[in-house]
């Protein structure tokens, strides 16, 4: 029977448990033909899990799925593809060393020999039809994130999918690329494709979707017509309470220059230039935010300052002292604190909370005494930090990995801040954290700023950079494209800078650019 109400996907009472969590606790979802249906929710709400179930990657513990009015059991992605379902994952699933065609035809049984002319022709047709330009012979690693995403979408369309699932497709894109993508999605819907669009960004829901289903803690909070709702209502449904949209930031007169980087050149893991002649300064009591699409040298920049990556040229000074050639330990002593973007880089998952908290100062008294550790001193010290920074843990002996993401990050910040650094480098402080945890991390950073610490903030989340920073610098291919006061930020300009299409000259650096 063909559904008259136009429902193409119906999921009913879906339950999926993982060790220790119920990712989906009885989810109902209805998606109609030809609509863009947004699936909105905080990190961990269960959006990806639900869609992975529809795509046959996970198997539901309970619940039923109907596609095109028929009850189905989807055992594998192959089953899903056969039903016309295609999924574009948050992390692209592309073979970096292969070409676009090779990636697209992977797994198809069409032709034994390769390269295959009809396939290439089909790809070009499709890309033209949906307005997504791509070179079929390019290798994936040569493509930008936006282009890689096009390959992912083409992969799905090539298989004749008419139900497209996109999992947080904009997280890797510049604002301009995001705009293009959203336009493409609208176009697809108009041509009869059904699009399920996962996101945690309210503006995107409003901009692109016809209907929206909001998820919270594994359950559906509501399904609404987008035209009848607003960001405020959606945020409330998503978080379960009112959220602050603006941070309270005390005005502070910035002090002396703490971090002074000039002419910095750093190579990436492959030995290619990642940071090129970069200069920046951070003053005491100031947050300098570096915005940019990930992979533009942010990681190499912070690692160079922290002493984890050799500097090929230029100078890094902290409090007027040249630290360019110092080892990490010596840099710590000269007042640098470091919270890397990859949290586990700075923590040991299986060691206890207390042990992780003393990782930096166990060599010094009172904790380190000769070759011994003073257990009582550790207890006092760790408990003090756990209280002061409100780290939620059963006790200090609990292995750190047992804590929630927010508390792990809080422990890391606690350790770095307890050293009273004069410079704190923070990368991706809230990645993977939900709104509640994000708020408390932000408060911690603002408190540290008020203490007079110079903070260098690196984040892929533009909103985070804009709301926390005093000054914002945009990085592209290892160079600063422009720097301005946060309150004078112009989104369109930032977008151009992130894409490398605009560069402010040094003369009009302070926000008055044309």
């Amino acid at each position: 029977m063909m559904p008259e109400d136009g429902v193409v996907v119906r999921m009913k009472g879906i339950v999926k448990r993982f060790p220790g969590v119920v990712a989906n606790a009885g989810v109902d979802l209805e998606v109609r033909r030809g609509e863009v249906h947004a699936l909105l929710g905080e990190n961990g709400a269960g959006k990806t899990t639900l869609m992975n179930i529809l795509y046959g990657i996970y198997h539901p513990d309970e619940g039923e799925i109907w596609v095109n009015g028929k009850r189905v059991t989807i055992r594998s992605p192959q089953d899903a593809i056969r039903l016309g379902i295609g999924m574009i994952h948050q992390q692209f699933r592309l073979v970096q060393t292969h070409t676009v065609v090779e990636n697209i035809i992977l797994g198809l049984k069409e032709a034994f020999f390769f390269p295959d002319r009809p396939a290439r022709r089909r790809i070009l047709e499709l890309s033209e039809h949906y307005g997504m330009k791509i070179d079929p012979e390019a290798r994936i690693w040569q493509l930008s994130a936006g282009e890689q995403q096009r390959v992912e979408i083409l992969k799905v369309l090539y298989r004749g999918a008419n139900i497209l699932i996109l999992d947080e497709p904009t997280s890797m894109l510049t604002p301009a690329e995001t705009h293009d993508l959203l336009r493409t999605l609208r176009r697809m819907a108009k041509q009869g494709q059904t699009v399920i669009f996962i996101t945690h960004k309210l503006e995107e829901v409003i901009e692109v979707s016809d209907r929206v289903t909001v998820m919270r803690q594994g359950k559906v909070a509501a399904t609404l017509n987008t035209s009848e709702t607003n960001p405020r209502q959606l945020a409330q449904l998503m978080v379960g309470r009112d959220v602050l949209f603006r941070l309270e930031k005390k005005p502070i007169q910035p002090g002396e220059v703490v971090l002074d980087v000039s002419g910095l050149n750093v190579l990436n893991d492959k030995g290619l230039p990642a940071v090129c002649d970069l200069a920046l300064q951070v003053r005491a009591g100031q947050i300098l935010g570096v915005a940019g699409v990930s992979g533009n040298g942010q990681r190499e920049l912070v690692e160079a300052i922290a002493g984890l990556r050799p500097v090929v040229g230029g100078r890094i000074a902290v409090n007027g002292r040249d630290v360019t050639r110092l080892l990490p330990r010596a840099r710590i002593e000269s007042g640098i604190g470091f919270v890397p973007g990859e949290r586990w880089m700075a923590l040991v998952p299986s060691m206890s909370v207390a042990e992780n908290l003393i990782l930096k100062n166990y060599v010094r008294s009172p904790i380190g005494r000769g070759i011994w550790l003073d257990r009582r001193a550790i207890a006092v010290y760790a408990d003090a930090l756990i209280n002061q920074f409100a780290i939620l843990t059963p006790d200090r002996h609990t292995p750190l990995k047992k804590l929630s993401g927010g508390n792990i990050q809080r422990a890391l910040l606690a350790r770095e801040m307890s050293e009273k650094p004069s410079l704190l480098i923070v990368a991706q402080p809230t990645s993977g954290l939900d709104v509640g945890a994000t708020e408390t991390i932000w408060q911690m950073l603002l408190a540290e700023r008020e203490r007079g610490t110079a903070i260098l903030l690196i984040s892929d989340d533009l909103k985070e950079v804009l709301s926390l920073s005093d000054r914002v610098a945009v990085i592209f291919e290892g160079q600063i494209m422009g720097e301005f006061l946060a309150e004078q930020a112009d989104l369109e300009q930032i977008s151009l800078m992130m894409a490398g299409a605009l560069r402010l000259s040094d003369a009009n650096v302070v926000g008055e650019a044309a």
């Binding site: 996970y58 992605p77 292969h98 990636n103 992977l106 034994f112 390769f114 492959k270």
Partner: protein
């Protein structure tokens, strides 16, 4: 009439090609296994088991082809154990591979006791290629090998073509580079890996049999003498490309022959034993810049077990 350069090269090839042939088989197999994402350090064990079982069957049945077939099956069977351990049970690949090597060395020693010193009536004979084999000097030196040598050479373009120009190859390489991508498109990752590993084992088995039914031809305990480890190095040396495997196998084969030739001159065989590994490091060092630029190198998912539900 002294030995000129040309003749010297021919003589060197004459020695290096047979010595390199077991390495070639082993490496071609290991290239395929590793391309699927599974490292098999059990090559030494599979080769020696191929050598002993191949010899035993050829000796008993009097048919050398039964011997070679048996060696392939035994190698494949051992590889199947490895595949089960690392793909299904998700055991550490290094541990499982090392265990396989030790197992092979032990069992072959035990099984082979009664064949030590036995002559082999049914051995591979050099084949006569009309025309080529009759050429003066060249024919004598380069076209008097047995069939396994030529099959090995023919396998190189075949496996290369399969790997780079067919759907099969793209599937295999994708599984080794990004199994999640392949899985999402409906490729059976576990099956592909099983097949590649078993194929690798069969090739190693044949390589071992070549030693005992053609090269020696005899059974000597521990006769692979580290050839399996050279295969591991060669696979890297070849940058996982069958064409470079051919080059490397004959080069390293030549080095192995030199080892015996130079020993009387007072050059330590231990020094020459190190040569393949030193060469591998050298090649890696020289090519690392190029590799990074062109994004070639070890399969990205080498040694990572894949499971759909895991993050």
């Amino acid at each position: 009439m002294g030995v000129n350069i040309f003749e010297f090269i021919l003589l060197a090839l004459r020695a290096a090609i047979p010595a390199g042939t077991p390495l070639l088989y082993g490496t071609l197999g290991e290239v395929y296994a590793e391309r699927s994402g599974v490292l098999n350090l059990g090559v030494e064990g599979m080769m020696i088991m191929g050598a002993v079982s191949g010899f035993a069957v050829a000796h008993t049945t009097g048919n050398v082809w039964f011997g070679i077939l048996t060696a392939a099956l035994v190698g494949g069977l051992l590889a199947l154990i490895h595949a089960f351990a690392c793909i299904t049970l998700r055991v550490n690949q290094v541990v499982s591979g090392l265990a396989l090597t030790m197992l092979g060395l032990g069992i072959s020693g035990m099984m082979g006791k009664r064949y030590v010193g036995q002559p082999l009536a049914a051995r591979l004979q050099p084949i006569h290629i009309p025309g080529l084999s009759d050429l003066p000097v060249i024919g004598e030196l380069l076209f008097r090998f047995d069939i396994l040598v030529y099959i090995g050479i023919l396998l190189v373009p075949l496996l290369w073509f399969l790997l780079y120009k067919t759907r099969l190859g793209i599937t295999l390489r994708s599984v080794g580079e990004n199994p999640a991508a392949a899985d999402a498109l409906g490729v059976n990752v576990a099956f592909v890996r099983y097949a590649a590993v078993v194929f690798g084992g069969m090739m190693a088995g044949v390589g071992g049999a070549y030693l005992s039914v053609s090269y020696a031809p005899a059974w000597i305990e521990g006769m692979t003498a580290g050839a399996g480890w050279i295969v591991i190095a060669l696979t890297i040396f070849a940058i996982w490309d069958p064409r470079r495997a051919l080059l490397g196998a004959y080069l390293f084969g030549g080095v192995r022959v030199l080892q015996y030739r130079l020993q009387p001159l007072g050059i330590s065989p231990n020094l020459l034993n190190m040569l393949p590994f030193l060469l591998t490091i050298l090649v890696l060092w020289i090519s690392s810049g190029e590799a990074a630029r062109r994004h070639i190198g070890a399969p990205a998912a080498l040694m990572t077990p894949y499971s759909r539900e895991e993050r």
